[in-house]
Amino acid sequence: MIGGGKKYRSVLYKILDIVFIGTLLAAVLVFFVFFFAMVNNGVPDETAWKYALGSTLFLVLAWFVGPVLIIQLLIERTVLKPIKGMTKRLERMSEGDLDTPLEIEGDYEIKTLGEAFERMRLSLRALIRRLKKYES
């Protein structure tokens, strides 16, 4: 690996790290909001404590199973899948296959990137073809 021996780690995990810290902070906040909402309205401390902890744990689980997982999936599909596809095509290109067009669906920046990729492939192919014609 060229990247100085760094181990491969998906962008998704980097995002997940931050989300994890954020979730912990949110969990602490939600716990206290729940606790004081109950205590201030005459619920005994022990009961309030139990209910606040229980619902916080349930909510952390719900946040992760719901929004966090879905957002990760969407990022994977809209951004990372095309990037992986292009990486594979780049590997084929270094083996000399310049003729297979890139088939990647995507929007906005990904589309722009795909177009730049195709422009590059066509310009390299034209260059090589011209040289091959001179040679023969």
Binding site: R9, V19, S55, W63, P67, S94, L122
Partner: protein, 133 residues
């Protein structure tokens, strides 16, 4: 070229997720308040205050997440497109150095391999042509 549109779309996903989280959190709060026997006439007021705090705590990080997504994804995509445009203009000399150890770093590595192999191919062909002259 329109700028930052992919980021807008991702921000919409994150915002939807955060709204959903607020709704389930407040739903659970309501249930808990009712179960623990908080007087029903007090519930709306408590919900309003706690709801305000929770809503604020869940919406502010959206901007942070947006900045993070820009740094981790969009910036890298733009840079890659820039490099590809440079190569299509004929510059095969500038090396591409992977900066991260993620999908984009891997792509930069594959790109560098491709650049070197194409460059070698071209040099070989040019060598053949030169010898013929």
């Amino acid at each position: 070229m329109e700028r930052g549109t992919l980021l807008t779309r991702l921000t919409i996903y994150v915002t939807a997720g955060s709204l959903f989280s607020i709704v389930i959190t407040l739903g659970v709060l309501y249930v808990v308040l009712v179960i623990t026997g908080v007087p029903l006439e007090k519930v709306p007021k408590v919900m309003l205050y706690s709801g305000g705090v929770i809503a604020l705590a869940f919406t502010l990080p959206i901007f942070f997440v947006r900045a993070l997504l820009y740094k981790l994804l969009i910036e890298k995509i733009d840079k890659m497109a820039e490099i590809m445009d440079r190569v299509s203009k004929g510059d095969l000399e500038t090396p591409v150095v992977p900066e991260t150890n993620d999908e984009f770093g891997k792509m930069a590595e594959a790109f560098e391999k491709m650049r070197v192999s194409i460059k070698e191919m071209i040099e070989k062909l040019e060598g053949h042509i030169d010898r013929r002259r």
